[in-house]
Amino acid sequence: MALSYLRSSSSRSVNLLKPLSSSLPLRRPISTDTTPITVETSVPFTSHQCDAPSRSVETNPKELLTFFRDMALMRRMEIAADSLYKAKFIRGFCHLYDGQEAVAVGMEAAITKKDCIITAYRDHCTFIGRGGTLLEVFAELMGRQAGCSKGKGGSMHFYKKDSNFYGGHGIVGAQVPLGCGLAFAQKYSKDETVTFALYGDGAANQGQLFEALNISALWDLPAILVCENNHYGMGTAEWRAAKSPAYYKRGDYVPGLKVDGMDALAVKQACKFAKEHALKNGPIILEMDTYRYHGHSMSDPGSTYRTRDEISGVRQERDPIERIRKLILSHDLATEEELKDIEKEVRKEVDDTITQAKESPMPEPSKLFTNVYAKGLGVESFGADRKEVRATLP
C-alpha cells in the first residue's frame, strides 16, 4: 500500500506525528483532525464502458477513525445479534452483514442523506449507516415497540425515510426496480440526488433487474446499481448461478466498475465517482467484491458450501476493520491501545443497548390493526375469529 503525506503549512500537520492521547480531553478518542491524507486503494478499479477513477483516495484522520468506530460498531452489533438469535430473542430470519461493513461505511462517506439507499434483507448495517440507532435495530429484531418499524417489520424490514433509506426487502431482486423508481422520482423532482440500489450476486440474475436497468438507461435515471458480490447466493457459489459472474459488465451498454468491497476507501471513491456519473449520464453498476463471514442467514452454518480455510483466509488477508486499523496505526493517528479502547467502548454500547432493548415492551394488541392503510376509511378488519376480534381501521 503506497502512502503519501500532503505537505501542509498549517500547524495541524505536526499533530499527525504526535501521539493523539496527549491532546484528547474527551472520553472518546475520535480525532477531529481533517488534514487531508492520500491513500491508495488495495487494487486498482476495473472498468467497463467507462474510465476508472484514480486509485488515490483523499481521506483524513477524522474520517479514518470514524470508519474504524462505525465498522467496529457494526461488527459487534451483528455478532451480538447472532447470540441473541441463538438465545431465541430474535425469531424468523436474521441475515448478518459482518465482513461487508466497508460497503456500508464507504458509501455513506461519499454521499448525503438526501441521496437514497435501498437494499435487500441484509440491511442492519446499512440502516445504521443511514443514521439508524442501535436501539432501533435490536428492538426491531426482538419485535419490540422501540424498533424502527415498531416491531411490525422484523429483520428484513428496516426503514428510515427521513434519511432516505427505503428498506429492507425480502423478495430477492425486487429492490432494484424500486430503487430505479426512487431515482426516477429524484429526477422528476429535480433534486440533483441519486439512488443506490444494492443487491447480491444471487439477485444479479433476476430479470426484473434488467428490465429496470433498460428503462433507467432509456430515461437517463440517476440510478446506481451496487452488486454486493459476496460470491454466494445462499448456498450457491457465483460460478454455479451465473454464466458470466463479471457482474460489473452485465449491464452491457451500462458502464460498470469493479471495486474491492473490503476497502472502505475504494468503496468511497467508487461511490463518489458513480454519483457524479449518474447525475450526468444515467445508470452505472458498481460491483463490490466483498465477503460475509456468517452463512446466508442464522439457519445456515455457512460452511457446507465453502471451506473454513476460505473464511479464515479472508479474515486474515482482507478484513475491512483490520485494514483501517493498520492504516490508522501506520499513520500514527491513534495507538493500538486507543483503538482497543474504542472497540471496548463499542462493545459496552452494544451490550447496554441490548439491555435497554429487552426492556422495550412488545406492541399493544391493538397495533395488529394499525398501518394496514395510510387512510383506513373506518372500515372493519377481523382477527382469526371474526366474531371475537374486530377492529375499525384508523
Binding site: S149, G153, A174, L178, C180, G181, Y188, I215, V379, E380
Partner: protein, 362 residues
Amino acid sequence: MLGIARQKMLEQSSKKIRPAVSMLRNYSSAAKEMTVRTALNSALDEEMSADSKVFLMGEEVGEYQGAYKITKGLLDKYGPERVLDTPITEAGFTGIAVGAAYYGLKPVVEFMTFNFSMQAIDHIINSAAKSNYMSAGQISVPIVFRGPNGAAAGVGAQHSQCYAAWYATCPGLKVLTPYNSEDARGLLKAAIRDPDPVVFLENELLYGESFPISDEVLDSSFCLPIGKAKIERKGKHVTIAAYSKMVGYSLKAAEILEKDGIDAEVINLRSIRPLDRSTINDSVRKTNRLVTVEEAFPQHGVGAEICACVVEESFAYLDAPVERIAGADVPMPYAANLERMAVPQVEDIVRAAKRACYRSVP
C-alpha cells in the same frame, strides 16, 4: 424523438384546465351523457392538472394515445415527463412506479389488461400493499394500478381473467370496480387522491358505453367515497349484488323480473376492498334473499365472500340459500357459442333470482 418535439411545443403553449363539459358538445344539451372512456380520460386529466406529482406510466399510454384510448390527448397536454411510454416489461416498470410512490410521487400505472399484471404482482402485493404496515406507517404508497379486467370478446383464455378476488384478498390494497361513467370519474379521482395503493379494475366492453351524467359529476372536485356500494335500483323481494359489467346485466334482469312480479334490488358494489358489508347486509335484511353476480371464476370469488359475510351477519334474515352466478369454471374458450356459455347472461341472473324467490316457506 417525437416526444421531445412535443415537449418543446408544450413549453411554449399555456396549459388550461379544460372542463369535461366541452367534450359533450356532440351530445344534446337536454340530457348530458358521457362514455366511460371519456369519464376516465377526464378524471385523469383533471387530477394531473390539479397535482403535479401525478404522472402516468404504461405501454402505449403516450404516443399511441392509449391502447384503448383512455389516455388520449394527455401526452400532448402534459408532456413526456408526465406521460411515459414503457417497454413491455411489467415487472420492471411496476417496480419503478412503486419506487417513485415510495419517494412521494403519485403514479398511475396502466396495465394493458390485468392479465399482464400477473407479471408484476409481486410488486403490487409485496412492494406496494404491505409497505405501510411493515414500516409502521413510514412508507405509504400512493399509487393507482388501472386497466381493463375480466372478459372482453373473443380474446381467449389468457386475456379474459377477472382479478378482483385475487387483489381483494390482500390487506393493504384497495380494489375498485366502476360500472358507469359516474363511477368511473368519481372512483378514479378518489383512487388518485387516496394515499394507499389502489387496484382500479375497468372493463373493456364498458369503455364505449354511454351513461347519463349530472352536473355534480362533471365538477372537477367530484369524488366518490371508497368502500361504499350504491343501490342502483331499489327493490323488496330479492337482492342482486354485482360489480362492473354485471351491474348492467343485473339491471336488465331486474326489468325482466318485474314483469313476473319480483321486485329486485340491485347493488352496484363499486368497491371490492373494502367491501361494503353493511349495505349488502341491510339490503338482505330487507329482502331476505340474495343473488351474487360476477364474471370471474367462481371458486374463492367475490360472491363466496359476500355469501359468507351474509351468513355470518344476517343468517336469521335469509329465507333462501344464497345464489351465486359466476363465470364458468373453465379457461375462457374462443368459439362464440362456448364463450357465451362461459360468461353469465341475463337469463342466468333471472333464473337464480327466481330460484331464490320460490324457496320461500309459506
